[in-house]
Symmetry: C2
Subunit: 468 residues, 2 copies
């Protein structure tokens, strides 16, 4: 059945008038003319645009079927493509046979042709991919994912799957979910006693959690097979109900041996530009939609990012600029503070007006695994900041000197025994190496202009919400 079907995107783009085709999809609208024709807009998700069907009342079965051809119903149709007299499309399909696959009761189908709020659509996340906006997000998301793989594969980075369930903790990058079988109905039998939790009876024999980062395991492979990247889900059990936080999101984490911080920064810049170029090239129609309907700075922001070499600004320089800005900050600025969103946005949007990379942060602000500079005060960390979204990538050169790493662990109050294998990487054939992390959903926010991160992931997980 499928083999005989044409998809709508290539039909609209390049199929020759006169061609006989069979296609299928979902009805967006139907309009009946007084001359005994029906015009149906059919969409199959391959592109934003619909295929216009022209259905003569003489088509076999018309009288029985046409009343069920309502918004949301599904059709399979065959006919001849003809040049369209309308301005909105190159071709239209003159239907010769028509099959109703599935009805959509007009009194009940929630997605009638009108504007729905994103809040409402989140309640029907199983239907929202059928709308223009969420169809476009799905296509852009796919394009980003493909570009990410292409970028790293072209550079001979190996795709590595780091574990999701972990008994390590990437230095308290966030609160973690516990993964357990102790709460099974037969938990008493498994050693669960009120008032105490004996994880030796749990599935993994010790407390296990969902990972907050694959970095430490990524370093293992980078220090063995060369540059690698991960592409997988990560988790935060933080009770944050904001438009920027998810309990489950996807991260891409490259890690490369022999890379120092300057190499890492260049990789990050090349990476972001590559992904943006791919979307502008392969999702032009969808990107135009986001610019027209969601945020009219989407395309200019993309162009701004592509047009500029990302400016490298040390943390120390950045703080000096913020202090000299004459602005009043909600969070006062001084060397040693964490840069807040207001500071980052001012630097990239107001001062530099282009993407920047802030590097060499105070060591007290950063995790134990970052490379200590000779100044004794800073570590080789970097954050990429872009206009309208702020921080989009965070990375660092990793500390590869065993003695320095051990003293940093001690300084951070962490137990070196828990990091025995991470330390082994520094004991045996240690090499300089660096990496970064990109939150996939942050990248989609940047590309689409969408405001709420719950709308750029298929099924968002947030406090009190894991429906679908």
């Amino acid at each position: 059945m499928s083999a005989a079907l044409s998809r709508i995107a290539p039909l609209l783009k390049s199929a020759a008038p006169g061609t006989t085709v069979t296609t299928a999809g979902w009805v967006r609208t139907r309009r009946d003319s007084k001359q005994g024709f029906s015009f149906v807009e059919l969409n199959d998700g391959s592109c934003m645009a619909n295929l216009q069907l022209v259905i003569d009342s003489g088509v076999p079965g018309y009288a029985d079927v046409i009343k069920h051809v309502t918004t949301g119903s599904s059709l399979r149709v065959s006919g001849e493509l003809k040049e369209s007299p309308g301005a909105n499309q190159r071709v239209e399909l003159h239907v010769q046979s028509l099959e109703l696959l599935g009805e959509a009761d007009a009194d009940k189908y929630p997605l009638q042709k009108k504007r729905h709020s994103f809040e409402f659509l989140r309640e029907i996340a199983h239907l929202r991919p059928r709308t223009n906006t969420f169809g476009a997000i799905a296509r852009v998301r796919n394009c980003v994912c493909r570009a990410i793989h292409d970028f790293f594969q072209q550079r001979d980075f190996l795709h590595v799957q780091t574990p999701l369930i972990t008994t390590s903790d990437c230095e308290g990058a966030g609160e973690m979910f516990t993964v357990t079988t102790l709460l099974d109905p037969d938990r008493e039998a498994k050693g669960f006693k009120p008032g105490e939790i004996d994880y030796s009876h749990d599935f993994f024999g010790k407390k296990a959690s969902l990972t907050v980062s694959g970095q430490l395991e990524g370093e293992i492979f980078a220090c063995a097979v060369g540059p690698i990247y991960t592409f997988g889900p990560t988790f935060r059990a933080e009770n944050s109900n904001t438009t920027r936080h998810l309990a489950e999101f996807w991260m891409i984490e490259p890690e490369a041996p022999f890379y120092e911080l300057v190499d890492d920064m260049q990789l990050a810049e090349d990476f972001i530009k590559f992904v943006i170029r791919a979307c502008l090239e392969h999702c032009a129609e969808d990107m135009q939609f986001f610019n027209d309907r969601i945020d009219n700075t989407v395309l200019s922001t993309m162009q701004n990012i592509l047009d500029h070499q990302f400016k490298r600004v040390s943390y120390t320089e950045a703080v000096a600029l913020l202090e000299k800005s004459g602005k009043t900050w909600e969070y006062p600025v001084a060397w040693g503070i964490n840069l807040q969103a207001e500071h980052e946005r001012w630097l990239t949007e107001d001062h530099f007006k282009q993407p920047i990379i802030v590097y060499d942060y105070p060591r007290t602000l950063k995790p134990f695994y970052m490379y200590c500079n000779d100044d004794g005060k800073t570590v080789r960390a970097m954050d990429v900041l872009v206009p309208r979204v702020g921080e989009i990538i965070g990375g660092s050169q990793r500390e590869h000197r065993l003695d320095v790493l051990e003293s940093r662990l001690a300084e951070s109050g962490l137990d070196p025994a828990a990091y025995w294998w991470y330390l082994d990487l520094r004991r045996y054939g240690s090499v300089p190496h660096s990496g970064f992390g990109l939150g996939l959903e942050r990248m989609i926010l940047l590309l689409t202009g969408m405001q709420n991160i719950r709308d750029v992931i298929p099924f968002p997980r947030t406090p009190k919400n894991a429906e679908f």
Copy 2:
């Protein structure tokens, strides 16, 4: 630093003698000649083969450095490529400058040049990617992942990320892990009382688990934007200590609207052949290694799969063949039984001697979501069986008729209210659709000839084991 480095694979393959290069990697062996030369085998993970370094004792710093150039240590070297007099390599590097990056104490480094058992290497999973076998597995695994994306992207399937944390249950496909914050130290404050568990106080407000399949959510997107595929981790909390089971593994699940079972079977066949061809083409050296060192039927099995159209065999035919085989089975054969590994292996290895697809299984054996045939007895399920590994893919056409699906839910004792959104897909614009699942690690077992699934995933998770 990195920009100036050449990787070893392209040097060995195609770099011109006379070229001056800088490279870096890990020492496999060193041998000192009486004529004042050292020969070092250097590996950087880009390929199985090592680059031979020829280091004259006149190289600056030689006397200080060379004694630390031991197995496992890391080096950066520059020099001139020359044609090699040896039979094992086209070129070798005559070193002009030499920098020891990291030592590897020969008394302590666990990976000395000798054969280690896979059991031992599992204990040092942070170092095993530095061995020939695990380096090759990493490269083949990457090649498979890339081929999977290429296959679906070339066919305009969209990559969709379905959720990991879920409150649904894909029809008891397996025991599930609970994801919770109730076991935090402050659990009493969150409403956890001995003897009862009140999930309304948990992070998601109800009992949440790690997914066993993204299929149901994949169907949502397939019924909106066209064919899609997922590529993500899935979980089973089964206490199975076997060479074939993992608590965490990666699955690829395509789902396509308008596909019936015949289309699904063809997609699965094309898919497996595409992935195998990619590995034979891009990982020829590694595949030869597996054939030589791990299992000498690897290459002939691959060729057998490529050479044959997969034979379609109905479950009913398969049972008749098994009954007529004259074999004595551990699990007796009759229409209605689940085919066991012994049956599947006999069919594909002994009887047909090629890959087969068994389809139309008894409905009583299969989940509620599979399409019921008109015979009232079977459903449109299919399993792809290949020699040496057995079942590698399982799939089905999905039941898209609302009334049939509702009665199947009832028959299975499932609560329709829990499947409200899944039923909505059949209420509004329902279309025939089909999909399948491939376990990534099963595919790697097939390609490498490795025997234990714990050896083909970077960091295996099994009962009592979530180290690294």
